[in-house]
Amino acid sequence: MLSKIVRTVANQLVLFILIFGLYVIAHGHLTPGGGFQGGAVVVSGVVMLLVAFSSQDLKKSVRERVLSIMESTGALIFAILGFAGLGTVFFYNFLVGSPIFGRIPPTGPNSGDFWTGGFIPLMNFAVGLKVIAGLSAVVLAIALFARGEEMEE
């Protein structure tokens, strides 16, 4: 556990990191970035908390069970989005033209419309959820194991 200044700053900063990560995830179909990158940004916030506080403190608030459920859910959403196109072909982009995210942008350079991309934003979201949960679980598990403790089964 580091000094009080570090802990306070980390506590405030983690919110901004979280928001930035979610921004990157949400705009994956418009700007550089996407689920993996945004997820990694969020996990960097988790690592910062891990450095500022101790791993035991973090263990109390983050349960492995929750991370495991989040990760499986993210992966399942991704796979089910693939299955949903099965009326045509697996991974068919079935949301293009539908009310949700279905708009098609004008060909060529444009300023970007959030409600485009078909199932790509949803997939970005699913992957982001998966990456956040998965990498946090790995980082936490290794940090705890290095201190001679284990996460609960």
């Binding site: 994956g28 179909h29 418009l30 700007t31 550089p32 996407g34 492995e64 495991s68 990760e71 993210g74 992966a75 991704f78 796979a79 693939g82 697996f90 991974f91 982009n93 293009v96 995210f101 279905g102 708009r103 098609i104 942008p105 004008p106 060909t107 060529g108 444009n110 970007g112 485009t116 991309g117 078909g118 199932f119 790509i120 997939m123 970005n124 992957v127 998966k130 990456v131 998965g134 990498l135 679980a137 790995v138 598990a141 290794i142 705890l144 194991f145 284990e150 996460m151 609960e152 089964e153």
Partner: protein, 93 residues
């Protein structure tokens, strides 16, 4: 002895790789680009996404991304499996 043999073989391999790299198309001028041109032209219409990379990652090569997500899932599952709390009675080595 081992070091000398290793260095010689490594040099042979490196020579092949470097000389092979000289035969690749000049940097900055890829020559056939059929597949990529198709994607850059049609990505906006077919997937509705402004980011062509995102449309390749999730639509044109979606299965690769499912595989990639699966690999991440596999690795996380593997790490948590190996770092599990287990009964210490089975003994070492």
């Amino acid at each position: 002895m081992r070091r000398a043999i290793g260095l010689i073989l490594l040099l042979v391999l490196a020579a092949f790789l470097v000389s092979g790299m000289l035969l690749v198309h000049p940097f900055g001028a890829p020559y056939p680009t059929d597949m990529d041109d198709y994607i850059i032209e049609n990505a906006q219409n077919q997937t509705g996404s402004n980011s062509v990379v995102a449309s390749v990652v999730f639509d044109y090569r979606g299965l690769d991304t499912l595989g990639e997500a699966t690999i991440l899932f596999t690795a996380v599952t593997g790490v948590l499996l190996l770092l599990r709390a287990q009964k210490r009675k089975e003994g070492g080595s």
